[in-house]
Amino acid sequence: MKYVDEFRDPKVGAGIAAAIAAEARPGRHYQFMEFCGGHTHAISRSGLADLLPPNVRMVHGPGCPVCVLPIGRIDLAIGLATERGAIVCTYGDVLRVPASGETSLLRAKARGADVRMVYSPLDALRIARDHPMREVVFLAIGFETTTPPTALAIRAAAGEGLANFSVLCNHVLTPAAIMNILESPEVRELGSVPLDGFVGPAHVSTIIGSEPYRFFAEEYRKPVVIAGFEPLDVLQAVLMLVRQVNEGRAEVENEFTRAVTTDGNLRAQALVAEVFELRREFEWRGLGTVSYSALQVREAYGRWDAERRFGLQYRPVPDNKACECGAILRGLKRPVDCRLFGRACTPETPMGSCMVSSEGACAAHYSYGRYRDRGQAAGAARPAAAGT
């Protein structure tokens, strides 16, 4: 397939892998976090960890929008469908996210709730137009990539005076999450999890540009290399990170120049700013409450804000106590270190956020990499596995 196969070329891949192996210093351990679930997915699906030397390890970050969506937010959406009779529309893998009381949107649907999978918020708009007597709620989730389409849908609904459409907004912000990880005591003070750098988001960066990462590079002395979602993009980014570390640099570099500019997509940014504003705080599954890390609908568009429209009150719901998602998302633990992993918690019956979507650290490891755990007891003393 044109424009895809070029970025999966095994010969080029072997060349970059050889360069990484040659340039990674034998005595040093390199640990990089790929923030995005899209990168986690690419790394796992292409078996990239096998191409890296043992002293270069990837840590899967919290950039899987489905994974970080807390139980309480899903509960709100299920309540809208079951108690208010709304048609709830959302993206595919949100349907499976476990909510309170062993439910999920998929299970609510099986019990008669009108829950529909859409590929775009504009599909939800169409459903609202087709069902003028029903309330239609778009359960909006995602990082900066999926925010502009939601903004567009809200503006379109306002433009045509569509009274039965609203958005339950769960859009979250990448820089805030990266900051939260860098600020966590384990990473910042104890130094027990040396994160040597970040593979920066691909699609998110097409919107926000490369500039927002400069702060992390400078303030925290962490190199950031923005990379595309193809396997060779990731390999190339790892090589660039290894070079930065070796040379003592901490800069923002852009491997994904075919799509990402310094300033990003200014029109999309303006659109988002017109419709959304910062939320004072938002709960992230796995990370806890993070200040100014999410967006909410502005007052001016309040009619299309499901939280205002239905007077929704958010109630946090704690995860299972044994769940180690928080530690796994920070790179402190590996999936196999969790007592639930592969036993009570599997992709069929996810208990924690990291098992929900195939982009999550645990699900990716379970689905693509668990053969690596053979012959090892959970929690066995061993340098954390190179990626999954």
Binding site: M1, V4, R8, P10, G13, A14, C36, G37, G38, H41, S44, R45, S46, G47, L48, A49, D50, L51, C64, P65, V66, Y91, G92, D93, V94, L95, R96, L106, R116, M117, V118, Y119, D123, I141, G142, T145, T146, H203, F229, P231, L232, T346, P347, E348, S357, S358, E359, A363, Y366, S367, Y368, G369, R370, Y371, R374
Partner: protein, 349 residues
Amino acid sequence: MSRVSRGLGRPLDLRSGRVDLSHGSGGRASAQLVEDLFLRAFDNEWLRVLDDQACLAPPPGRIVMATDSHVVTPLFFPGGDIGTLAVNGTVNDVAMSGARPLYLSAGFILEEGFPLADLKRIVDSMAAAAGAAGVAIVTGDTKVVEQGKGDGVFINTTGVGVLPPGVEISGRRARPGDAILVSGTIGDHGVAIMSRRENLEFETEVRSDCAALNGLVAAMLASGARLHVLRDPTRGGVATTLNEIARQSGVGMMLEESALPVDPAVAAACEFLGLDPLYVANEGKLLAICPAADAAALLAAMQAHPLGRRAARIGTVVQDPDQFVQMTTVLGGRRIVDWLAGEQLPRIC
């Protein structure tokens, strides 16, 4: 002819008529539906008798029987419809034992209000598919459910075939060292269906691969290769089917990603839908597992058949107490090809 003799009333309005509850009530309307539609399309000596059962002389050999209920949205899709699926799906289930499919039954559950013209189209497709596969639809049943209690039409078919002596094909017979072959490009059917789903319409030239595989199986058996396992990777795709076989046989598998035949249009559709062709359904492909020594002969026999032109050897059965299906990726890494968890849902990013 007397006006009160044997007529069943006005002929069935196959242009603008609709199924109503009387078509399933067993009265004149039912009889008319059977005679004017089903019998006319499927006509054969057993059906013509109009008894409630078909009386068949048992052929020599072991009898193989399989049943399958068919529900699909949309009912009509590029490359086929629910009728072709209902015939080919069951013919293939019988054929995957190595048996020669002979007879089919057809049970229809129709929703009140379903256009008779659409039903005729489906029935004609079934007749054509049965003719192409060389099987007879020898008995059937029709029920009508109230509007809202069905999805247009559901079809159950049961197939009966006969197994020649000496053929022992089963999902339990994969052995370490065996070769894994697939008869052609994967994921075509699922992508063709998805391209016509209400909330997802996109333009593609991909057509369903829906086809009866008994001819291909006969050619494979005639090659003299020792066949251990045959299975058609329908729901859940190649990945799910291989995991089923690995579990049944207590073995592992190692696939080569670069050897998987995927049509570029299917690869592209999966790419933008966030799906993996390994998990997308096929309706005209089979997986074959045979001793490595016989693989070349089997592959040649498959490629010589019109339905196996793009057949490929995609992997090897290995010893593995964990029964993992693994794959060497195009980039040279390794990963598990796991069971499908729930439904394959598109990712957000």
